[in-house]
Symmetry: C2
Subunit: 132 residues, 2 copies
């Protein structure tokens, strides 16, 4: 039984469920910031996933990196498993621009998020869902 961590659920909204993972758009309007959450209970690290699932999770990650490149043409993409605050395994995917609010710093552990306005959040979710 997989249950999405309540903090992740509070911090983002579902874009789509792919074969191996839930994909969330995190509520910080400064960035196109996605979290991939493999549907496997009690994993904190990739090595906790069965090999076959691990492979699919990574294929999905690569696919979504290509989606971010196509949809937003960013200068760079950060892909990170941090999970110090939320222990359920999740992999951040963040499209970065050299003129974004925190460049060249990583976005985590810095200033607080700037939530989307509702219409803006829905628009970005719609754009992303088109690609998923």
């Amino acid at each position: 039984m997989f249950r999405l961590d309540s903090q992740l659920a509070a911090d983002g909204r579902l874009i789509a469920s792919l074969e191996a993972s839930e994909w969330l758009l995190m509520n910080d309007s400064r960035f196109v910031w996605l979290a991939q959450v493999p549907r496997f209970q009690d994993a904190r690290l990739m090595v906790h996933l069965p090999l076959e699932l691990r492979r699919t999770v990574r294929e999905e990650s690569d696919l979504v990196v290509e989606i971010l490149r196509s949809a937003f043409n960013p200068d760079h993409i950060n892909v990170a498993q941090i999970g110090n605050m939320v222990s359920q395994l999740h992999i951040h995917h963040v499209a970065r621009f050299t003129d974004d609010a925190l460049w060249p710093k990583p976005i985590w552990g810095q200033t607080p998020p700037v939530p989307y306005r509702e219409a803006e959040y829905r628009d970005r979710l719609a754009v992303l869902r088109n690609y998923f």
Copy 2:
């Protein structure tokens, strides 16, 4: 032809060369902080690597996560591709402890590194090389 980025070479020392990557111990005595550098010129993202190499790079990453668990018994491990400052693809692997200097923050973009004393650096490299 692969050449290790000069900034990475200045910030760490070689632990070992595995099949697909150079593995460096970064010069910050506060953390067991390794950087994996795939031997492929001109990649900034994992998706820039040929599929076969990408797979081997990820297998090595999983192997080294297991090494970090065995050798240091950390509370958690951060695995991250950031690369905003150094564009050559490199994947950070950091053993984290709930009483370390920056927990629960990520270690990047925070306070400056605290370099090892020479003997301490050599000792830790020797410990790691034993596992590689």
